[in-house]
Symmetry: C2
Subunit: 333 residues, 2 copies
DNA sequence: GTTAGGTGACGTATCGTTAATTCACCGTAG
DNA sequence: CTACGGTGAATTAACGATACGTCACCTAAC
């Protein structure tokens, strides 16, 4: 491993100059010739600054943690790209953690922070909010930013309410009247989506169905469909809160002999590549997850720089309806 | 931030003793009473060792990198769990990287290694092998372990050949004779799976079809199906090399009016939760990805400890056929 | 009474970087 | 001729943890 000392020796200068060249420090001055010599030496010896030493000296590592609820949820794919991209703009590295892992391996996040492994944390975990992990987090001085509407931390979020509105309005425009809203859990971002649904229903002079909060994933979709069918007035259309639940809805509908979209229209919130490869291809509201990742990182760096932060929702780009084949006009047969 | 100095002061000992208590060093001895006092002080002051300082002193960070080809491929979900679990057994942290990101953000991996950010690398990237990134990697002293059959690095792998055999044999037992093999790219692990297919076909006295290497993902499945239909003898069954391609096969079959499994049986290699929620649910060969992750980490730690490594395939558990609804007996109608 | 050996602990150099302080030199103004 | 300011550097003290070398003290053997 080549160190600044090696560079200094071969360039015939002191380590102070090497460090100054590296960091563009104005305090320690040098001539152009000297700077060039140092740069040349760095090139020749393939110098790479030692991160551990920098971290120790500067008391920051240039690493941020991203904690996600379930890493393998495909809606995170774009988020990840956004986060990685923005972090590398800032010269930072991303440490990715799954919230499950976090809970099991004792105080994963806490250790990251207090051991100085990361400079800040980006967190998106819809199920963590009541945990004592959160309490631990709050007791630490390093910034934490939530990628969800959050009452405990600064946050940036996507426009969940708008997504609910868009999905619902689309179905209303297709002349559906009995529209149910399934999936997710109460008290989360999902609540916002339900509010959007509720709002649109009321605007249309209709009674909103209760939120069938069956949870997450494929199974939640199947459960949601079954519960929706028990509703006093069986729905002709469904807003599905969680995109992977849409897969479950399709499967359950198939198993129950319900044709989608002819007998049941389905619109999902969040769009992933998979949706266009299902049959029927699923109409979904695309959320700006890439932008969320970017904005989250920038906001976190802001926070780390000590700037005050105003939490808020990303409004551009807007959630966008991607029309495919799982929803169609209600025919009065 | 609490340091060893603080502990030493409050416990009335020197930092040397604090460090010794922490590390169980035998060199520096102490009485039980002293040790207890130090531990108590650590507890009281909520001491957490500073990672940066340790890394600098010990010249290792306790962090390993895991580089995957496409993070959002669901087959990696179990792998991740295996890796995270095993790493935390070793007291290590995992830095996750996507190979795409790596290529774009200049020399991501190289920097990780030479800046001493990680102690070793676990890599699974089917498309990286001819890249000059690999050349860069090899020029570094820190251990790299591939999670794929690899001619350049030590590796651990799963039994891809066996998976090909199992899928093919299952279809043969269902009386299929014209079986095609689609998806993937030549020269990779996928080659092994094809060899397994080939072997079983020959055992059964049949002519193997050529490997229709249409690549990865859903589109590859659709392309593979179309190419398979062009074959001199149109197949009645398909072995699909990549599980996400199975989704594409199903969609393309639907679009072409081919009923699965009645007109076409499909078996995928690799199993993910999604497969049981598709209609028809996809019969697939489950690969021990969790175990691959574990074994990879253990092997990497072995390597980092300076032990010689013998590359090899994980044979227990064996690839396991999960029978669902996408493959059925060939009826001679 | 001296010393060898064991016990329990301390002092400090070191890892590679950064940044504050110091310093030598030179040209020029007074 | 001296003082002074500017230029271009070098020295060095941290940052926190680790481990080597040292040392004081006590007991017991000779």
């Amino acid at each position: 491993m080549t160190t600044q000392r090696d560079i200094a020796r071969t360039a015939g200068v002191s380590v102070a100059v090497v460090s100054a060249v590296l960091n563009g420090t104005t305090h320690t001055r040098m001539s152009e010739a000297t700077r060039a010599r140092v740069l040349q030496a760095m090139e020749n010896l393939d110098y790479q600054p030692n991160q551990a030493a920098r971290s120790l000296r500067l008391n920051r590592t240039g690493m941020i943690a991203l904690i996600l609820h379930k890493l393998d949820n495909p809606v995170y794919a774009d988020l990840l790209r956004g986060v990685y991209g923005a972090a590398s703009e800032h010269g930072g590295t991303v440490l990715l953690g799954d919230a499950e892992t976090m809970r099991s391996s004792s105080q994963f996040v806490t250790r990251l922070l207090s051991q100085g492994t990361v400079d800040g944390i980006l967190i998106r975990d819809d199920q963590l909010y009541d945990d004592d992990v959160m309490a631990e987090l709050r007791s630490h001085p390093k910034p934490i930013l939530s990628l969800d509407h959050d009452q405990h931390h600064p946050w940036v979020g996507i426009d969940d309410r708008r997504a609910g509105e868009i999905a619902t309005r689309f179905l209303l425009n297709l002349r559906h009247r009995r529209i149910a809203f399934i999936g997710g859990a109460p008290g989360h971002a999902f609540q916002q989506r339900y509010l959007g649904y509720q709002h649109e229903m009321q605007q249309a002079g209709l009674e909103p169905a209760p939120h069938l909060a069956t949870g997450f994933g494929e199974q939640a979709g199947a459960d949601g469909l079954r519960q929706a069918l028990q509703l006093p007035a069986a729905p002709t259309a469904l807003v599905v809160n969680n995109i992977m639940s849409a897969v479950g809805v399709l499967a359950a509908a198939h198993d129950l002999g319900i044709a989608v979209p002819d007998q049941l229209s389905v619109v999902g919130i969040h769009d992933v590549a998979l949706m266009q490869h299902l049959r029927p291809a699923v109409t979904a509201v695309r959320m700006p997850m890439y932008e969320l990742g970017q904005a989250g990182v920038h906001a976190l760096y802001d926070l780390m720089a000590g700037n005050p932060h105003t939490s808020g929702t990303i409004t551009t780009p807007e959630p966008e309806l991607i029309i495919r084949d799982s929803a169609t006009t209600l025919t009065n047969t």
